[in-house]
């Protein structure tokens, strides 16, 4: 399908390009694995020294069978685990099956073929002696007990002076035991006059192995990706998301289970001769495709548990990540001023929404210039249901201009002041934290948290499915799912289900979703646009009720503060009821406000006058029947509420500055 051919194109483009991290792109016939021990030999195959490595991943040459190996015997070409590499492993009580003869045979065949390499020959000469474990024990890398059997646990006490030997630290443990035969050995061949002694990044060595592996026998047939005749792959690579990942995108090993057979009459013999009837992919093609995918995932993939989403341009150029948040995206732009971004200057000629749209367009214009308009951008999502198989859950190809347009629309339509904390320099003391409300768009993770709360923390499936549903809104420009919106609105209307800062964040997210939902409502007659600032001339019932609530809360809040009391205000407590029955709840709130108004008349008369003016303005704006109707409010009241509060917040910060 197209995703495989696109990945193939990406691989070829990356190889040909000058990208700085193209060295991370794995060559064909190699695989990536963690290594634990390094043995240095000279060019004649004599042991020189050894060391233990921590957290080192190398690229090692592998056959098709060994790259995707599971439980059976499948030796790698050069670097492999001790139970493959050491002839004397069984003599030291090794518990794993000794696969030395197969390994030695394979390496010997390579060295005697038309594509030998001096380093491989040196290693072969060394392992033929069959002394690997003995040498490692002498070098204190591996450890044995009194009867010369390999230890499974370090029996002595561990302390500062006698630390745990490194080999026990780096090897993976099962049930507290460590199998020393599991250590992967990588080689260095030192030759006087040749400074480059390593074997895992040596392009000559890689070439020679690639050429030898290409000579291996295999069935020829039609490759379904390129449409040409190629040597077909018998198995496909795994290790896409990380080096221990056994999930495969393409697998064809179920010959008895009717996963796919039906009209095909494949048997092991027919597959060996002519390839599988169901599908055929060229060996080189599949390796390049999976290597490209692995490289892209590690470089720019977005992970959500088992799911991975990756966005890339076929040419390898940088593209904006559809799942990144607005500020991070804009920070990646060439000219960016974080200070200015987080506390924008108020340009009274344009409103905030327009300013934000302008800034974001500038940012995107940089990308428009950088990418060709017809360049192909691909977005792909992968997920696995079982540990052995992975499926493509999302796949889109877009032109660069389309892609940038859709990202622009998402960020502009769903932008709203969001709650963030910023560090504020505080002289010599530790920097303080200040709450700010920069305009940005919530990312899917935050939307999920706002809409579902703590449930998300334990429910991976829900998190995954939300991300899956929101991604088409970002990339395809689809309408936002109404149920997520309603869930977010409901949670933002209830102040008691989370901490105060969380509630404030949920409020910002809910407003953003409401605004965006109505801006791209599938029914054109129902579309509405909201500004991010207080709209004095918006006279819809819900908006005005939201403003009323905000004014009432502020009145009481200031009065309580003036009296030094720290209680939740009536408006806060009754917010959820207010959303369900505004008119009757307003009566309660208004009655409850009277004592505080009295207090304010005494202490803050000016403030009270201003608030009364606002109250009157709102009351006048109401249509008569709208006010007395007691039907539940839609999410619009949150917009009115938040805009009113933001209005005062800005006034305050302006006057502070």
């Amino acid at each position: 399908m197209s995703w495989m051919s696109k990945l193939y194109e990406t691989y070829e483009a990356a190889l040909a390009s000058e990208l700085p991290d193209r060295d991370m792109l794995m060559p064909v016939s190699h695989t990536i694995q963690n290594t634990h021990v390094r043995i240095v030999v000279d060019e004649k195959g004599n042991f020189k020294r050894a060391s233990v490595l921590e957290k080192t991943q190398i690229i090692l040459p592998a056959t098709e069978a060994s790259a995707g190996r599971g439980a059976g015997e499948a030796p790698h070409a050069l670097a492999d685990k001790i139970h493959y590499v050491a002839g004397d492993y069984p003599d030291f009580g090794g518990k794993k099956k000794a696969y030395f003869p197969g390994f030695e045979q394979q390496l010997g065949d390579w060295c005697n073929s038309d594509f030998p390499h001096p380093k491989a020959i040196a290693v072969h000469a060394y392992i033929k002696k069959g002394q690997v474990v003995e040498d490692l024990i002498k070098a204190s890398i591996l450890h044995v007990d009194e009867s010369n059997q390999l230890l499974q646990k370090w029996p002595h006490e561990v302390s500062e002076e006698n630390p745990l030997p490194s080999i026990f630290r780096v090897l993976p443990k099962t049930a507290g035991r460590v199998e020393q035969g599991d250590a992967l050995v990588s080689w260095s061949v030192e030759k006087p006059g040749n400074p480059d002694s390593q074997t895992w990044n040596d392009p000559d060595l890689q070439e020679s192995w690639m050429e030898y592996d290409a000579m291996a026998p295999g069935a020829n047939g039609l490759c379904y990706i390129t449409g040409e005749e190629h040597k077909l792959a018998k198995s496909h690579p795994a290790k896409l998301r990380h080096s221990g990942d056994k999930a495969k995108l393409v697998s064809a090993n179920d010959l008895s289970g009717f996963t796919f057979k039906g009209r095909f009459t494949d048997t092991k013999n027919t597959i060996a001769q002519r390839g599988s009837q169901a599908v055929g992919v060229g060996l080189e093609v599949t390796q390049k495709v999976h290597n490209a995918l692995r490289w892209l995932i590690s470089r720019q993939g977005y992970r959500n548990g088992d799911q991975v989403y990756v966005t890339w341009a076929v040419s390898g150029k940088k593209v904006p990540d559809p799942l990144a948040d607005t500020i991070t995206l804009m920070m990646a732009a060439p000219v960016f001023d974080l200070e200015k971004e987080l506390s924008p200057q108020i340009d009274h000629g344009m409103d905030l929404g327009q300013q934000f749209a302008l800034r974001f367009s500038n940012y995107l214009r940089g990308y428009h210039n950088y990418l060709e308009p017809n360049e192909q951008i691909v977005i792909m999502g992968l997920d696995s249901a079982t540990p052995g198989r992975m499926g493509v859950i999302y796949y889109r190809e877009l032109l660069a201009s389309e892609f940038l347009d859709r990202i622009g629309q998402w960020h502009k339509q769903f932008a709203w002041p969001q709650r963030r904390t910023a560090e504020v320099a505080n002289g010599k003391k530790k920097p303080g934290r200040k709450t700010i409300w920069p305009i940005s768009t919530p990312v899917p993770r935050v939307i999920a948290e706002a809409a579902y709360g703590d449930v998300i923390k334990s429910n991976d499936t829900l998190k995954k499915s939300i991300l899956e549903r929101i991604l088409p809104c970002i990339v395809d420009g689809q309408a936002f799912p109404r149920d997520i919106l309603l869930s977010a609105l409901r949670r933002a209307g209830n102040r008691n289900n989370c901490e105060k800062w969380e509630w404030e964040r949920n409020l910002g997210v809910a407003c953003a979703l409401f605004k965006g939902f109505y801006m791209r409502h599938p029914d054109l007659t129902k579309r509405r646009e909201y500004k991010m600032a207080l709209e004095q001339d918006r006279h819809t019932r819900d908006y005005l009720y939201g403003r009323l609530l905000a004014i009432a809360e502020r009145l009481e809040e200031v009065s309580l503060n003036a009296g030094g009391e720290n209680r939740p205000t009536t408006a806060e407590r009754l917010m959820q009821r207010f959303a369900d029955r505004p008119y009757s709840t307003w009566r309660n709130i208004e009655l409850g406000l009277q004592p505080y108004i009295q207090r304010l008349k005494r202490d803050r008369a000016g403030f009270l006058t201003n608030r009364n003016k606002e109250l009157n303005a709102v009351f006048e704006a109401f249509e008569a029947e709208d006010f007395t109707r007691d039907t539940p409010l839609s999410g619009e009241f949150l917009l009115g509420y938040h805009c009113q509060k933001q209005f005062w917040f800005k006034q305050k910060s302006e006057s502070e500055n």
Binding site: M1, Y224, A252, F258, F260, F264, T270, S384, V392
Partner: protein
């Protein structure tokens, strides 16, 4: 064109399986219907071994949307396994197709009566198909209705050209090719202004021989009801 019908087929889900993903069990759909899938729809509307349906054009009406569903497919040895299938969601296509006589079945020559097959096909189309219509896999139920090809607005009418790479076209079955072989065909899929024009099966350049297979024999009046009798019954 002679013996041509045009109709619209729509359904909530469709799964035109990509062979590369089929073998692993995590089926992923092509974004476009395959020739074989539409031929399957036509055969469900009306088919006799005397005729071979040819799909001329398919027009995509609704925008392409995918949806993944976790499923528990049955395992031959008993029990279930888990898999994630990627379907196309909310699809609608307009199809224009015609049938020709199957020249590789000389024993059915008496059945090739002009007009009768066509009238049955049209009547069955009005009724929504003789058998259940499905898009790709049997789980994806669909419905058909006669319409005139090209009417109404489609989601991709303004897009000049969209390429989809090498796609599966269909299978060459022995009863339609005359050779005792099963082969698969591929083509480079292109959609121009929302319309996919499939090449004829003989014109597909990329073919792959799969295995030997024999055509099922049909005997007129023995295993096959002649069309005159059929028309009288319906």
């Amino acid at each position: 064109m002679k013996n041509s019908i045009s109709f619209r087929v729509w359904g909530r889900y469709a799964l035109f399986t990509d062979p590369v993903t089929k073998t692993g069990g995590e089926k992923c759909s092509y974004h476009l219907p395959t020739y074989e899938a539409i031929k399957g729809v036509l055969k469900s509307i009306y088919w006799k071994p005397t005729l071979v349906w040819h799909v001329d054009k398919v027009r995509v009406i609704k925008p392409i949307r995918t949806q993944t569903k976790g499923t528990k497919p049955l395992v031959w040895g008993g029990g279930n396994s888990l898999a994630i299938y990627t379907f196309l969601h909310d699809v609608e296509y307009q199809v224009k197709a015609h049938f020709e006589w199957n020249t590789h079945r000389p024993e059915l020559k008496k059945d090739r009566i002009d007009g009768k097959h066509f009238s049955i096909a049209k009547r069955m189309l009005e009724k929504g198909g003789r058998q259940d219509i499905f898009l790709g896999v049997r789980d994806c139920q669909a419905y058909v209705e006669p319409c005139s090809f090209g009417e109404g607005e489609g989601a991709y009418d303004t897009i000049d050209k969209l390429g989809f790479g090498l796609m599966f076209h269909g299978f060459d079955y022995p009863d339609e090719t005359g050779k005792d072989e099963l082969s698969s065909r591929f083509w480079n899929a292109v959609m121009r202004k929302g319309i996919i024009e499939f090449p004829r099966p003989e014109d597909c350049q990329v073919k792959r021989f799969l295995r030997e297979m024999e055509a099922k024999p049909f005997g007129l009046d023995e295993t096959l009801r002649p069309v005159a009798v059929e028309e009288a019954r319906i």
